[in-house]
Amino acid sequence: MRYLMTTKATDTDAPDETLYAEMAKFVEELTAAGVLLATGGLEAGGVRVASSGDTITVTDGPFTEAKEAVAGFALVEVRSKEEAIEVTRRFRKIVGDGESVIQQVFGP
């Protein structure tokens, strides 16, 4: 089963060298284990497209509620929810304070 892990932005300082190295190792390991299918970081803000009746409204970011915005994602393929939690736990250990959400992916 697939899970999407999304991580919210934090307003801490820019990540240092050690964190980069640890993350790179972590991503490499997960890829080697056949767990990590895709991952990436997301730009702050982005473009919001809203629809209401026949009207489509396109708004450029940044938006006020920046803290709730998703800053990165990882799509993992695991055998159970517990495995997804375990992967996320290890990820959180590396990146420090903050919050990630995991949700099962259905389809395609």
């Binding site: 080697a32 284990a33 056949g34 299918l37 695991v78 159970s80 517990e82 395609p108």
Partner: protein, 658 residues
């Protein structure tokens, strides 16, 4: 630390998840230390038990994998100390192990893969052991995936570990020519696991996704461990691309949907992209493409086509041609015919498909008439096509497929003028009341084969002697002369009854040579007695058969209590079996103090599913009596090099001449 309020069930599931992620590394590291995969797994299991005891209290440690490894390593060191307390050398090893960091060497997991897929193991044991050691699955989980019962899987895993230990298979990476061979064994095991999940040969589900996922995971892991092997990436590409179609392969009610009818919008683009990437890595690794790369290249062609009509069939046809040279299986050749038909028209496809009709391996393979029906239909030979679809329907074992093939046949109007068909003729011929039961049964077999191979709806008046001869060559070309002649007379009788020309005209009557058992000549017997590494039981049995000239069944039925070692004879039924010095020298060692029970025992205790009669069980060891089949198999295998014909001898041939 994980939330301490987590219920024990939650902790257990967490431990299970951690275990599945870490066990391969742990078992591999331990195997390197103790050089015995069975022991390594026991030690790893001990560590797991410790986790189950401690984590609910203490919480899950920060690095659970390292925790498990550290515990397991401590157990390994203890074990080595205990098992060789007095040997200084072992003490030194134990000390060195203790000082080493707990992380394994990166190649350990790869070594473990080579070990669990070792050619010394039968295929089903390789599969079970790989899922167990590399996938971290429990025997119960493996049993569920393969629709087997748990004790069978437990037994397979135990037997595999025993065989590896007995054969003293080293925990090393093979190199040179051996690497290619061993690697292909690993690839085959992974693909077998994948296919078991993908095409679910048994059971209700058409797919068992957890097996596909496990195989994909193993493949991806192997690709990281052996990045320079093109075939590894080829296999990964093949699996990713096949898996990308899994959602589109079944319709709403679970029926199979063929590739060209699948909704390509439901193909998983992510997996397709991964497949393409793996394919690129395979090409980068270089070398001539092997079977997995070629199959992946074919899958790439399908994945690249936006619609079925866009498929690059000429390229697929040429890939199949290359593949059929490396892997000339009937199925590959049939697919080659399909691709040729799509690329260059039905005539080209039919030429190859027709050449396969004489292959005994494809005699009852429903896809051959199905493919031929397709090609014939495109050529406008509608009535032949209809009969081929019906024949395919009669050969398939799958209900959904049978219904599909019948629909195809029903789509073609049957001839207006009713014809007297092969099926009607066979029915009337066999329903006559002047045939006795045995003859009717025997004729029935012959006609059944003709119907299966030529189709029930074949008009009787179009049946030719050539067609009959073709069926005979495919079905009974290798059979004993008596069998051939029996079927031949059935055809002759059928012709007389139906007032047809002689359809057996193309069939020669074969000369029956009286069945005579050739004995083994003296020189070969001498070689036999001096074969290296023959187990004691086999050697004793062979000697006894030769010296006593008694029947194989009689000798295998001997019990220890029937033996009279002093007089070199044993009571058997109403008579005596007697032997000479060769057997007499071996018997005491074989008995090894046993006083009762079968003289020749099977290697193992009988499984729970089959309980032999008490007389066939050894009261001391619980092992059953050696079966004729097993004894015959072992003799054949042992003598395959001695026999000039290369088949191996049968036990009856041990009887001395005269």
């Amino acid at each position: 630390m994980i939330d301490a309020s987590l219920p024990p069930e939650g902790v257990r599931r967490t431990i299970d998840a951690v275990w599945k992620m870490e066990s391969a590394k742990i078992v591999a590291g331990l195997t390197r230390m103790v050089r015995d995969v069975g022991l390594a797994e026991e030690l790893a299991q001990d560590a797991l038990v410790s986790a189950l005891e401690q984590w609910p209290e203490s919480g899950v440690p920060d690095n659970p994998g390292a925790w498990l490894m550290a515990i397991a390593k401590r157990r390994a060191v203890d074990h080595i100390r205990r098992s060789a307390r007095l040997e200084r050398k072992h003490e030194q090893i134990a000390y060195e192990l203790e000082q080493r960091p707990p992380d394994g060497e990166p190649d350990d997991v790869l070594r473990l893969m080579f070990l669990s897929c070792h050619p010394v193991l039968p295929t089903e044991e390789r599969v079970a052991l790989t899922l167990r050691l590399l996938g971290g699955l429990t025997a119960a989980e493996i049993a569920r995936a393969f629709l087997a019962v748990e004790p069978v899987i437990v037994q397979r895993i135990a037997s595999a570990k025993r065989t590896l230990a007995e054969a003293e298979v080293p925990f090393e990476l093979p190199d040179g020519a051996e690497l290619t061979e061993r690697l292909s064994s690993v690839l085959d095991v992974i693909y077998l696991i994948f296919n078991e999940g993908y095409s679910a040969t048994s059971g209700d589900d058409l797919m068992r996704p957890e097996l596909c996922l496990e195989a994909l995971r193993l493949g991806r892991l192997l690709a990281e461990l052996a990045p320079h092997e093109a075939e590894v990436h080829g296999l990964v590409a093949l699996m990713e691309l096949q898996e990308s179609r899994s959602a589109a392969r079944t319709g709403p009610s679970g029926e199979p949907v063929q590739l060209h009818e699948q909704n390509r919008g439901r193909w998983d683009r992510l997996l397709i992209r991964r497949g393409f990437t793996a394919m690129l890595r395979a090409r980068e690794a270089g070398g001539p493409p092997g079977p997995y790369m070629l199959q992946a290249a074919i899958a790439v062609c399908h994945a690249q086509a936006a619609t079925a009509a866009d498929t690059d069939w000429p390229r697929i046809a040429s890939l199949y041609e290359t593949l059929s040279r490396l892997l000339p299986t009937p199925v590959v050749r049939l697919n080659h015919a399909v691709a040729l038909g799509m690329a260059y028209g039905p005539v080209a496809g039919l030429a190859v498909a027709d050449s396969l009709t004489g292959d005994p391996a494809l005699r009852d393979y429903h896809l051959l008439p199905s493919v031929r029906g397709d090609l014939l239909l495109r050529l406008g030979r509608r009535e032949e096509a209809r009969r081929e679809f019906l024949r395919a329907a009669s050969l398939t074992g799958n209900d959904a497929e049978r219904a599909f093939l019948r629909r195809r046949a029903d789509g073609i109007p049957a001839p207006k003028a009713p014809t007297f068909t092969l099926w009607q003729a066979a029915r009337d011929f066999l329903a006559r009341d002047d045939l006795d039961g045995g003859t009717a049964r025997s004729y029935g077999q012959t006609l059944r084969r003709l119907r299966l191979s030529l189709g029930d709806e074949l008009p009787l008046d179009s049946l030719t002697a050539d067609q009959v001869a073709h069926v005979f060559r495919t079905a009974w070309g290798e059979a004993a002369a008596a069998t051939w002649n029996r079927h031949r007379s059935a055809v002759r009788s059928f012709c007389t009854w139906a007032s047809l020309d002689d359809l057996a005209a193309g069939l020669d009557r074969r000369t029956v040579t009286p069945a005579r058992t050739e004995t083994i000549d003296a020189a070969r017997l001498d070689a036999l007695w001096n074969l290296p590494d023959v187990p004691l039981r086999e050697l004793t049995l062979w000697r006894l058969l030769h010296e006593s000239a008694a029947g194989v069944t009689t000798v295998l039925s001997l019990n220890v209590e029937d033996l009279d070692l002093d007089d070199r004879r044993a009571r058997a039924g109403g008579g005596w079996v007697s032997w000479r010095s060769g057997t007499a020298r071996l018997l005491p060692r074989l008995l090894a103090g046993r006083a009762r029970g079968p003289l020749f025992l099977a290697d193992r205790r009988p499984g729970p599913a089959r309980t032999p009669a008490p007389a066939d069980l050894c009261p001391e060891t619980g092992r059953g009596r050696l079966s004729y089949e097993r004894a015959e198999y072992l003799f054949k295998r042992a003598t395959i090099l001695l026999d000039p014909a290369g088949h191996g001898y049968t036990l009856r041939q041990l009887k001395p001449r005269g």
